[in-house]
């Protein structure tokens, strides 16, 4: 985590000029004013001092001021994060469970007709960029068929709807972003689970289980248990990609979450908010891979010993 | 303290060879433990002689073989080959020395680069030591293939087209290409079927006779060793526990471990009643070897005592040319234990 934030700091310094010079470039402001702002934000201090302050601020949770929202970055994030977490969490659970189920099914009958159909389907799904899938879903279900409400998290009249309708309204807004994120995720996990299950299926211990008189269901369970660890490791490594996918999907469905706000912040040069978003996503990634590591150790005693 | 058998300087002289592998763990790979794979091993190999290094897995025999060639850098000890201090050589002189010291590996599938033709693999040594080039090199490759009993036109084929026995012949041809005086044979026949194994054993012996080669023959199969070796060194947990001429070792093994090892070998003679010494449990881990005599926790010698548990026995000449590391074997006397094979 510390290393990741250092990396972000280095990345910030790598860019030409500095964010303040850029932000006020071309604006009819006196040079002195800009210099004053720079000094005020400590950008004139030597690099190590800046670095120490940067690190200190992060540790204290001081993420800066969002020029775009005119609020502290911390507050902006507190509002946005739960919405993104909802979307990503749902998508992750769906893709993991469905993908693992499909992949495990394929792995035990590798080469069969059903497996080939599934392999081709997941390959195509895997090749669909999330943002285009999202655009397509939007075009089809909203603009052409008109089955689902356009974008956002709730409709304009949400507050005055009765309770049942409100739930329905929320679900209707959720379904497309969830679908766009999950479909691609399913293909990722299915592809991986297939190959790890196929490998496990060829291991001699599968034959041992059969020789013991274990029924096919139990034999599949034997194989699946050993094929689990690599998939969990992958799930940890996939988080950055999922974050990336969420950015596009939120953007297209105008889902008011972190991803959407990050892109807006980039366009508005809201520099503190972008930095915070990068830091936050790194934190999620690090946490995710630590968690994956932990679960992996739980399901496979060989890992780490 | 060396097991010197000849008065002339031996071809290979290994003294107190030690290789400890650090076990690294954690983020920055700090060593947390030491595996004492080879722990103070001394022996000599004379010109044209075969010394067999036998032991079970984990005894350190393979590591010893590789450390001598500096394929693994030894932790300490001296290795002299043909009078030169192998450990003191710089990279260039070491490469030059490798013309004289070669190795044949156990796994006939892993020891040949699958992307090189057989000819290219054999030729590589000729090229790096500038022994032959072009048509001359081609000629040498064909002659080498012929010498190991393969057809010369195999030179253009790839390793996967050959059986295990044939690959092992290719590996031998590759080692012979640079005309070495000494070859470390690291379990060269363990992976082969019985009938093929016999072919390769005979080939190795023919080559030794024709070329005056010296072998360090690493093996776990005592029966093969009985057909290959002039002298035999038995390793257990990184140490040599017994070293003797072949006939003496097989007829009158003295160290209790050697006796147990010999008695464990299944003999293809049904109905023959033998006194079998069954060792209890598994060999201890080389990361945590027992104090004193490394064998003492499994030893069944009737006089086993505190000395065995606390004092490391030296490898001593208990009978002419018969070296034993055991407190309980009396020096220069008839064997204290009844021979298992008598």
């Amino acid at each position: 985590m510390w290393a990741a934030s250092t990396l972000v700091f280095v990345l910030l310094r790598l860019a030409p000029g500095d964010p303040y010079a850029m932000r006020f470039e071309g604006l009819p402001l006196p040079r002195a004013t800009i210099e004053a702002r720079r000094a005020q934000r400590g950008l004139d201090d030597p690099m190590p001092v800046q670095y120490a302050r940067w690190l200190g601020n992060i540790v204290r949770g001081e993420l800066g001021w969002s020029e775009q929202h005119q609020r502290p970055v911390r507050d902006v994030i507190a509002d946005l994060l739960p919405r993104t977490a909802l979307l990503m969490g749902l998508a992750l659970v769906t893709s993991l469970s469905l993908g693992m189920w499909l992949g495990a099914w394929q792995g035990t009958r590798a080469g069969s007709f059903g497996d080939q159909v599934a392999t081709t389907s997941t390959l195509v799904l895997y090749s669909l960029p999330e943002f285009w899938l999202a655009l397509l879903l939007l075009q089809l279900f909203v603009q052409t068929l008109g089955w689902l409400p356009a974008t956002g998290m709730v409709s304009a009249m949400h507050e005055i709807l009765p309770f049942g309708e409100r739930v329905r309204d929320r679900l209707e807004h959720l379904v497309l972003p969830w679908l766009a994120l999950s479909l691609v995720g399913v293909s990722v996990f299915a592809r991986f689970q297939r190959s790890s299950m196929r490998d496990a299926w060829r291991e001699p211990f599968v034959r041992t289980a059969r020789a013991k008189g274990v029924a096919e269901r139990g034999v599949r369970w034997h194989a699946w248990r050993t094929a689990l660890a690599p998939v969990i490791a992958l799930a940890g490594l996939t988080l950055p990609a999922l974050v990336g996918g969420a950015v596009f999907v939120e953007r297209i469905f105008a889902w008011p979450g972190m991803g959407n706000a990050t892109v807006s912040a980039v366009n508005a040069r809201d520099y503190d908010l972008v930095t915070a978003a990068v830091l936050l996503s790194s934190a999620v990634t690090v946490f995710g891979s630590l968690l994956a590591d932990l679960v992996q150790r739980m399901v496979d005693p060989r890992v780490g010993s | 303290m060396t097991a010197q058998t000849t008065s002339v300087a031996p071809l290979l002289d290994v003294r107190n060879l030690t290789k400890h592998f650090p076990v690294r763990a954690g983020w920055f790979r700090a060593p947390t433990q030491v595996i004492r794979a080879v722990d103070g091993v001394s022996f000599t190999v004379a010109d044209g002689e075969t010394l067999a290094l036998v032991g079970e897995s984990g005894s350190g025999k393979t590591t010893a073989g590789r450390a001598i060639l500096r394929l693994i850098e030894p932790t300490s000890g001296q290795v002299h080959f043909g009078g030169r201090d192998v450990r003191a050589l710089n990279a260039a002189s070491l490469r030059a020395l490798r013309r004289e010291m070669q190795i044949v590996f156990q796994d006939p599938y892993g020891s040949l680069n699958p992307r090189l033709t057989v000819g290219a693999a054999i030729r590589e040594g000729l090229l790096v030591h500038q022994l032959a080039e072009g048509a001359a090199a081609e000629q040498r490759v064909r002659a080498l293939l012929d010498e190991v009993g393969l057809r010369a036109e195999y030179a253009t084929r790839y390793p996967h087209e050959f059986s295990g026995g044939q690959r092992q012949r290719i590996g031998i041809a590759r080692a012979l290409a640079v005309e070495p005086r000494f070859i470390v044979c690291d379990e060269p026949v363990s992976a082969l079927d019985v009938s093929v194994q016999a072919q390769v054993v005979n080939l190795l012996r023919d080559l030794q006779r024709d070329r005056g080669l010296a072998y360090l023959f690493i093996a776990h199969d005592l029966a093969v060793v009985a057909h290959m070796a002039d002298r035999v060194a038995v390793m257990y947990l990184g140490r040599i526990v017994e070293l003797a001429p072949r006939a003496a070792l097989f007829a009158t093994p003295r160290m209790p471990y050697t006796q147990a090892l010999l008695s464990a070998v299944p003999v293809p003679e049904p109905g023959r009643v033998r006194r079998r010494i069954l060792l209890a449990g598994d060999p201890p881990s080389p990361a945590n070897p027992p104090s004193g005599c490394v064998f003492h926790p499994r030893c069944s010698h009737p006089d086993r005592d505190a000395m065995c548990a606390n004092v490391i026995p030296a490898l001593e000449e208990k009978a002419p040319a018969h070296w034993v590391a055991c407190h309980k074997v009396p020096a220069a006397a008839p064997p204290s234990l009844p021979s298992t094979l008598a």
């Binding site: 248990r225 | 299944p266 049904p270």
Partner: protein, 329 residues
């Protein structure tokens, strides 16, 4: 003679490979009586492991059994019985021990679990009782501190201990027949001695029959009462063990015995069998050993020799049986 426990008749298993069809097991017939130890010997590629696997219909995918093949166990044909009946036989009446206990055991389950699973699958015992039985069995096969070891995973045990776990798993329900496929090949010689001793003791204790698949003639001599020698997918000799070693009938058996290095030979050349075992896609016509045989004559190339009864329980697949004068010395 009582009816045999296991009777294999004309077992044929084939594959389709890139190089054409491979008749990996080609007309193997033999019997195993209750309490008997029979060894199946041969070099790699002779079809002995595939024969063993076929007895429980555990062949790898792609292997085909000929419709005429029969494997009768206690009167029932294993090759045609429904999957359910077969499952209740496996592990309970017929058990298997595999060569490499590292890969043959499931790496992510405790060894106690894997032994107890056999009990749970075949009996009505609860999980706890099955576990207790598993721990008792692990202790019986000589695993020290079995209750603690049962909680460990295969990679935490040594090779010898793992093979003891395999044996515990195979023997826990006291099967009538145990098929052991190279049970000691992956082990060191002193550990091999322990495992062979254990198998002998267990056999005496339970009276099980043992079909021992091995390439090691020393192991055969120590363990078996009857021997089947396989070469190129066929049984070439069947013989009581003493007779096999004292008077081998088939040139291949003879060659094999001569090629085995022994401890007390003085340093003379080993005898060898020239050439190698042909691949199963390319068995020679006539006698399959002909190309490596010192005695072969034209009849060997044209007629495939039948398995001829030579004496009581001694059968040999060689034309020399009928024309012993052809033998070259």
């Amino acid at each position: 003679m009582t009816s045999p426990l296991l009777s294999v008749h004309d077992l044929r298993v084939s594959f389709f490979t890139e190089a054409g069809p491979a008749r990996a097991v080609d007309g193997v017939s033999f019997t195993v009586h209750a309490g008997e130890t029979v060894a199946l010997v041969g070099e790699s590629g002779c079809g002995k492991t595939l024969t063993a696997l076929s007895l429980l219909r555990l062949m790898p995918t792609g292997a085909r059994l000929a419709p005429t093949s029969r494997v009768e166990f206690d009167g029932a044909d294993i090759l045609t019985m429904p999957e359910r009946a077969l499952r209740s036989l496996r592990g309970d009446r017929i058990a298997m021990i595999f060569q490499e206990p590292m890969t043959a055991l499931n790496p992510v389950l405790t060894v106690g679990d894997q032994v107890a699973e056999v009990v749970r699958v075949h009996t009505a015992l609860s999980g706890r009782d099955a576990w207790t039985r598993a721990v008792d069995m692990l202790a019986l096969v000589g695993i020290p501190d079995a209750a603690a070891r049962a909680q460990q995973y295969p990679h935490e045990l040594s090779g010898g201990m793992r093979q003891r776990v395999m044996i515990a798993m195979a023997l826990i329900l006291e099967p009538a027949l145990v098929i052991a496929d190279e049970p000691t090949t992956a082990l060191d010689v002193t550990i091999q001695a322990q495992i062979l001793e254990l198998l002998r003791a267990m056999r005496e204790r339970s009276g099980m029959a043992l079909l021992l698949i091995t390439h090691d003639l020393g192991v055969v001599a120590e363990m078996a009462s009857r021997v089947l020698v396989m070469y190129a997918g066929e049984v070439v000799e069947e013989s009581p063990v003493e007779l096999l070693f004292s008077a081998p009938g088939h040139p291949y058996t003879e060659g094999l015995l001569a090629a085995v290095p022994t401890l007390d030979t003085s340093r003379e050349r080993l005898r060898t069998i020239p050439g190698t075992v042909p691949p199963p896609t390319d068995w020679p016509a006539g006698c399959r050993f002909r190309e490596r045989c010192a005695h072969a004559w034209d009849r060997c190339a044209s007629d495939a020799p039948p398995l001829v009864q030579l004496g009581p329980a001694h059968r040999v697949r060689c034309h020399l049986v009928q024309e012993p004068e052809r033998r070259r010395t």
